[in-house]
Symmetry: C2
Subunit: 156 residues, 2 copies
């Protein structure tokens, strides 16, 4: 069910439903139904349509890492010797649990990753013992996040 511009069409009611569930995935459908004034069955049907379209990728519990002692987040730009080593480097990065994101990027680096560590010492360990030891990694540039001010999903 795709439109001309290769994107799914959703109407105002779909948006309202999604906005509730993007805030709280466990919000009861019937509660949303009461808020926006249509039946629970209608919402149920719309959600099935949205899931089928692929727009809803799933749902997640959000964990607060600080409560587990993880207080140091950083972005690390990685220079690789040869482009050939990229897929192997990503495989190695996947095995490092502190690596939460990994992007091939334009610009100076081959790869940009986001890591979450307990503290600076832990970060240093991940850099020196885990990342620098990956075959093909020649150099890294680290940017520690002193404070995350915005963290949100796409606005619909």
């Amino acid at each position: 069910m795709k439109s001309d511009d290769n994107s799914v069409k959703i109407d105002g009611i779909d948006k309202k439903i999604l906005r509730y569930l993007m805030e709280d995935a466990r919000k009861p459908i019937l509660e949303i139904a009461r808020h926006i004034g249509i039946s629970g069955a209608a919402i149920h049907q719309r959600l099935r349509k949205l899931e089928k379209s692929g727009l809803i990728a799933g749902s997640k519990f959000v964990i607060n890492p600080k409560v587990l002692g993880y207080t140091t987040m950083a972005y690390i730009g990685i220079f690789l010797d040869k482009a050939m080593s990229n897929p192997m480097a990503v495989k190695a990065l996947e095995k490092i649990p502190e690596v939460l994101e990994c992007h091939y990027t334009t610009g100076d680096w081959s790869i940009l990753i986001k890591v979450l560590c307990k503290d600076n010492e832990h970060l240093m360990h991940v850099l020196n013992k885990d990342i620098q030891q990956i075959e093909g990694v020649s150099r890294t540039e680290t940017f520690i996040s002193l404070n995350q001010q915005i963290d949100r999903q796409i606005s619909i």
Copy 2:
């Protein structure tokens, strides 16, 4: 309920419960109960404890932005004239819906942001019309994510 190292203690059962819900926030508690072999009431009680500890920050529906036509993700390093302009710049960034993350960082830039746009043209528009026009922004460096290979939460 914090331990000596200022982090919450969770046991193996807590971890199992959380792992299920981090994958699928709407997974029924009773289903999880059947999987791990304790009663639904016990899980309910543990979840209340985990929420009270602050470890569970909430839950979210995950939207696939590609289905809405958003295919260009980029990181942008922003140079600010004076540190003084930082909070004002963040306020201005909050008003740009394409900005999904914003970090104060160590290193070259004052601020690192993540943006999600429909295409390169849209990204260029956000750069030139929205970001560059913010008071105090002197220069930006853009890194387009050609491909995101890893995207996950903290592993517990």
